[in-house]
């Protein structure tokens, strides 16, 4: 019996945890990571249209040439035209080249910008994750602490229960279903300094047997090893219900 009793706190704990999980599902709790909005850092960028610097040379007025040497002239003219054409071609080529370079530069810059953006995003994500992890860790730690506290408290409670059980000599008037609730006041040395009946069983002999059990315990020396904070929180006053389950009647 006392074993199952010692598990009750653990069972209760797990029950509560499960309940909390179910509750979390019900309130549609989603990991917060998706909700945290990080504002991307926009960079103002203008696409610049590069105007050609050199316009096609304006058409030249054809000088009237003496048709002295038409063929020669024609040849010259041809040459000249070819020259112009090649000049034009070169200019165009230059322009294209310049344009290409400009574009490449632009692309590079854009890439850099994107990279920077990505980097910043990653950093933000990292920071966010870190802080969330810290929080979870802290909560986890709090849980662990509470559980350890509870475990420690339980082992002391079990000790008290055992000692009281050993000291409890029931009168023959004791019956199944009787219950007396007492409050034991303790000091950090573990000494019992007071016992009061909070709820009587209605049978004075039974009540007295309960008081005697607590008074006979006299001192729970083991409580001296307890964390003082825990003692203050949970063991200054200990309430104990005495209810026999091992009787015939």
């Amino acid at each position: 019996m006392s074993n199952s009793l010692s598990y009750s706190a653990a069972i209760l704990f797990s029950l509560v945890l499960h309940l909390a999980l179910v509750a979390a599902l019900f309130v549609d709790w989603q990991p917060e990571s998706e909700r945290v909005m990080i504002q991307p850092q926009f960079i103002e960028a203008k696409l610049v249209e590069l105007a050609p610097k050199k316009k096609v040379p304006p058409p030249k007025a054809k000088p009237k040439k003496p048709r002295v040497d038409l063929a020669k002239k024609q040849r010259e003219e041809k040459k000249r035209l070819a020259k112009i054409a090649s000049q034009k071609k070169a200019a165009e080529k230059r322009r294209l080249e310049e344009e290409r370079l400009k574009k490449a530069e632009e692309q590079r810059k854009e890439q850099l910008r994107l990279e920077e953006l990505r980097r910043q995003e990653q950093e933000a994500e990292r920071l966010r994750k870190e802080s969330e992890f810290d929080q979870a860790l802290a909560a986890e730690q709090a849980l662990i602490n509470a559980r350890e506290d509870e475990q420690a408290a339980n082992s002391y409670r079990q000790l008290i229960q055992q000692r009281l059980s050993e000291n409890w000599s029931r009168p023959p008037s004791a019956r199944l279903g009787m219950e007396t609730l007492i409050r034991i006041r303790l000091v950090p040395t573990g000494r019992v300094v007071g016992v009061t009946v909070l709820k009587s069983s209605g049978d004075s002999a039974f009540d007295r047997s309960v008081e005697q059990a607590a008074l006979k315990a006299e001192q729970f020396v083991e409580l001296q090893t307890m964390d003082p904070a825990l003692f203050e929180r949970k063991f200054r006053q200990v309430d104990v219900a005495f209810s026999p389950e091992d009787l015939r009647l």
Partner: protein, 428 residues
């Protein structure tokens, strides 16, 4: 959001923690005799010839619920609560202490003032005064035992009650039968009737002032009633055949008994004022050993109408019967505890007779004795013990066992065969 959830879990944890913190549950005990010290009563030179403290000690010890502290270990003999150093008694492991003082109050009367002190809690639980003559020192002691017992156990003490029993003494190849009454501890035996013919089935009246019994002195069984103070006797039945097993009703106005005048043993009711008989059972089997339920409205009796002797319940008004016992091949001599629920009886599972208790509510049967040939159980008026007759060697003696079978003791043996004990009701 997540903080909220964690906070919630934490709160739940805390609340569950503080809930289990609220109450440690103790559901098992370690029932041990209570240690009690009876400080020698200050008798201030009054010569009564009785050691009151010793009588209290043996009363409490005999109940099995107390263990007394040896007088030789005591560091002081306080006569009242003011003189008590609790520390001394605590060192002896004593949980309670009885102190008292006897003094003369004139006219041959004496007063015993006593206190029950709680050594563990260091306080006085009760203080009382009881009066008596020089010949009543045992009564005073039993009264102290009763008070102490009741205060600590929650059950009324039955130390001031008495026992009736029959002794058969063999003298010169002839038996002599004696009906006697003694204190519950066997002391102060008084002869009620002596006869050369058998005496059987003593039964106490509800007020404890009279006995009914069966005597064969007229040559055949007849039921008599006899006042224990005035010794006045009256013959109640004189029928042919069996006249037996008288049982006084709780209010004392009627008597249940067994007569076979109409052929075979049947239960009858005798109105003690009108002397009218009413037949209650009508069956070709043997119906015998009636005993009253505390409310006086029904009787328990033994009948072999089912093939083997078993206990039945009979409603007096409707005459309806109901079989109560089914376990074992022999259940007889029912004797009911005052709670109206626990029934003591002679029980045979297969081949040996034992005394067993039977819970009328749950139907549970518990064998209380392990010896052979145990018979005639009679339950004390407080329901804590029962007395029965058993054999020690080839002699009949009286023994007692607690109804939870935890304690047993033999009454000091006497000459002759002791049988058929009957425990008196409370006497005051």
């Amino acid at each position: 959001m997540s903080q909220k959830i964690f906070a919630l879990i934490f709160l739940l944890l805390l609340s569950s923690a503080s809930h289990s913190e609220l109450v440690i549950r103790v559901t098992q005990g370690n029932d041990k005799p209570t240690k009690i010290a009876i400080a020698p009563i200050d008798q201030s030179g009054i010569q009564s010839g009785e050691d009151i403290s010793r009588i209290i000690e043996s009363d409490l010890q005999r109940s099995g619920l107390f263990k007394t502290i040896d007088r030789r270990d005591m560091l002081a003999f306080p006569g009242s609560a003011q003189d008590v150093y609790y520390r001394d008694w605590r060192l002896l492991g004593s949980e309670y202490l009885v102190v008292g003082k006897l003094r003369s109050v004139g006219d041959g009367r004496y007063q015993l003032e006593f206190s029950l002190l709680n050594v563990t809690a260091q306080k006085t639980e009760l203080t009382h005064k009881v009066n008596g003559s020089i010949n009543q020192m045992r009564d005073l002691a039993h009264l102290v035992s009763d008070k102490v017992y009741q205060e600590i156990t929650g059950i009324r003490g039955a130390f001031s009650t008495r026992l009736a029993y029959v002794t058969a003494v063999r003298k010169d190849k002839k038996y002599s039968y004696r009906l006697s009454v003694a204190d519950a501890d066997g002391a102060r035996e008084q002869l009620v009737l002596e006869s050369a013919e058998p005496i059987m089935s003593p039964s106490w009246s509800g007020d404890g002032k009279e006995l009914a019994y069966v005597s064969f002195e007229t040559g055949r069984p007849a039921i008599f009633r006899q006042n224990l103070v005035t010794a006045k006797r009256e013959q109640l039945t004189n029928f042919t055949g069996l006249n037996g097993a008288p049982a006084w009703s709780p209010d004392g106005s009627q008597m249940a008994l067994v007569l076979s005048k109409d052929g075979n043993p049947e239960i009858y009711l005798l109105n003690l004022n009108s002397k009218k008989f009413t037949r209650l059972t009508r069956h070709f089997a043997i119906d015998t050993e009636p005993t009253w339920m505390p409310d006086g409205k029904s009787l328990l009796f033994t009948s072999d109408r089912g093939g083997t002797p078993q206990i039945y319940k009979l409603n007096i008004a409707t005459k309806a019967t109901e079989r109560l016992t089914f376990s074992g091949n022999y259940n007889a001599r029912p004797s009911l505890a005052p709670d109206g629920r626990t029934l003591a009886m002679v029980h045979r599972q297969t081949d040996t007779f034992h005394i067993a208790s039977f819970d009328l509510k749950t139907g549970r049967m518990i064998e209380l004795t392990e010896t052979r040939l145990d018979e005639s159980p009679t339950v004390a008026p407080n329901g804590a013990m029962l007395m029965y007759a058993t054999k020690q060697g080839d002699r009949g003696v009286l023994a007692a066992v607690s109804l939870d079978a935890g304690v047993r003791y033999m009454l000091p043996s006497r000459t002759g065969d002791v049988r058929e004990p009957a425990w008196s009701p409370f006497l005051r």
